[in-house]
Structures are given as C-alpha cells and as structure tokens.
Symmetry: C2
Subunit: 177 residues, 2 copies
C-alpha cells in the first residue's frame, strides 16, 4: 500500500494511503474506570477540550508513552490525575474511530484503591469530579454533558453492575417503564 505523509505533528500524523484513504496516526491510549464502593460514584476528570470546544467529563485517561505498557500507563495516569493507586484489571480494547484513525484505547478497572501521591502533568488542567453513573448517562444522552465513547462504556458497565440503567435484570426484554 502506497503511503504518502501529509503532515507530522506533535500528537497526530496525517497520511494518505493509496492516494485515497486519509489516515490519522495517533498514539494508543488508556482509560480507567473506578467506582467508589461507599456510594457507587464514578471517578472522572473535567477539562477544557479545544477540539470539541467544550468542558468534558471523562474517565481518567491518557496516551501511552513510547516503550510503556498499557497497564503502566494506566497506573501512571491514575496517580497523575487522581492520586490513586490500586489493583488494575484489564477490561477491553477498542478503536475510537477505525474509519480514519488508528488510535486504540485500552480500558482498565481499578479495585482496592488507595491514596498515593502523584506528580500532575503540567501540560494538563484537570479537576477530579465524582459523579453518579446514572446522572452521567442522563446528562450525556440529553446533550448537557460532553464525554468520550470509552467513558460511556465505563458508565454503562457501572450501571449494569448496579442493575439499573433502564433495563430489567434477567430478562431479554427491554423494560418499557
């Protein structure tokens, strides 16, 4: 396949494949879902995202550094963004938009969290905000809160675990209530 480099930036590289497919090369990322046992709230961070011109609420997340494993990146991002350590369980991986970019995200879930001091990434301005996953789902579906796909996957899993989310458990039929 013929590859023509159009632009090489700090975060993205743009390529044309076979003079036809516009492809954005982007580092892989990690995201971490953590549900606080005492109240079922989900850990998230708020930040201004210039690309979507909005303040988003997202799972703690970040790019994997060169030579770093996904699990190590997840542990580092958790310390940096939320001062938390604990047991990280790999959940799944996904492509954010396989039609045009190779960015993959590896999702982890945190268990047995303990506080630990992290050095914040100076290039980021983040605020930790705990939220009820059902509130997040409602606000996002209503267009009031902006978020990412991997965040909604974490939210949906938190709701499934709780047995809410508009579905009856143990039934193959959608609850209409």
């Amino acid at each position: 396949m013929k590859r023509t480099s159009i632009w090489q930036g700090r975060i993205v590289e743009l390529e044309l494949l076979d003079d036809r497919w516009e492809v954005v090369r982007h580092a892989s990322a990690v995201a971490i879902a953590y549900v606080r046992p005492e109240d079922g709230y989900l850990l998230g961070v708020e930040q201004r995202r210039p690309a979507v011109d909005a303040v988003t609420w997202e799972l703690p997340a970040g790019l994997i550094d060169p030579g770093e494993t996904a699990a190590a990146a997840a542990a580092r991002e958790l310390r940096e963004e939320a001062n938390l350590c604990g047991e990280l369980h790999y959940v799944t991986q996904l492509y954010v938009s396989p039609g045009f970019t190779d960015e993959a995200v590896h999702l982890f879930e945190l268990h047995d969290a303990t506080p630990c001091a992290g050095v914040p990434d100076e290039t980021e301005a983040l605020t930790v905000v705990w939220r009820d996953p059902l509130e997040v789902w409602t606000l996002v579906a209503s267009g009031i809160l902006a978020t990412s796909g991997v965040t909604l996957l974490g939210v949906q899993r938190a709701l499934a675990r709780r047995g809410t989310g508009g579905y009856r458990c143990g039934s193959s039929r959608r609850s209409r209530s």
Copy 2:
C-alpha cells in the same frame, strides 16, 4: 482562538488552534444497534479498515450527510448496509476522542425491524454478520476481533439487557465467578 488550516481533505480537515492544539475536523456519525429477537444476536458489518489495517466487525454506521438529521442518517445507513427498516430510538451521543477530534457519534437502537430494499453505497464493501454479543465481547477483549468504541457500547447494552456480561444483577459487587 487563532485557527490555522493545515490540510483539507475529503474526510478530515487538520487545524492548529493557537499554534498549539492539533485538531482533526470530521463529520458527525451515527451507529445503530439491533438485537434480533429470535436469538439475541447483534447486527454487525465486517469491512476492511485501512486506517487500522484490519477487518473490523462494527455496528452499522456512517457519516451524517450535510443537511441530514442524525435520525435520517441512521435510517439511511440501515437500509444501505443491512436492508432493514424499523423504529429507531435515540440512545446517546459521544465524542470518539475529544483530545484531538470533534467527531461525534449518535447511537440509535432499532426496534420492530422489517426488511426493506436499500441501495448500497458503492464506495463501501461490507458484509453483514450477526454475532452473539457475549462472543463479540470475549473476542474483542482477547484482541482477536477489532471494533469501535460505539460498537462495544452497543454490545455492553445488549449484555446488560440479557442480564449476563460477567455481572450479577441487582448487586453492587462484581461477580468473581
């Protein structure tokens, strides 16, 4: 905010904001989840995705045409890709990767599906493949099957509705079995 256009393509536009933020402009998209009532299988399409150099299995999806509503795009894509019509319910919206692109995806679920003839998009080579959502989840988590974030959201919802997915219903604790 200062905007510098770097490149304008057919699918993506690359901009630099304030000489700093690399932003990929991309049309919004739709995706449609449909669970076949007779066996609980989820509708998906297989296609080669040059950006990730893989054949993916994804929910039927596509870009919203200029002037088109998300619901109209979802109905069109369902006809084009799967020859299906029916009642479309809006589920939610998400940004695929708000750190670098403004691409949003609107997720719908299809109910009361009926066959209807669609004119395929000649630029796409798709194969309809029905899959058990639990099988999809397992294959994707194992790295055997490649897919998108919005597809996994649809898969996770199908599993929650079925009451499986590694979670006990009605419990706030993760099943360890």
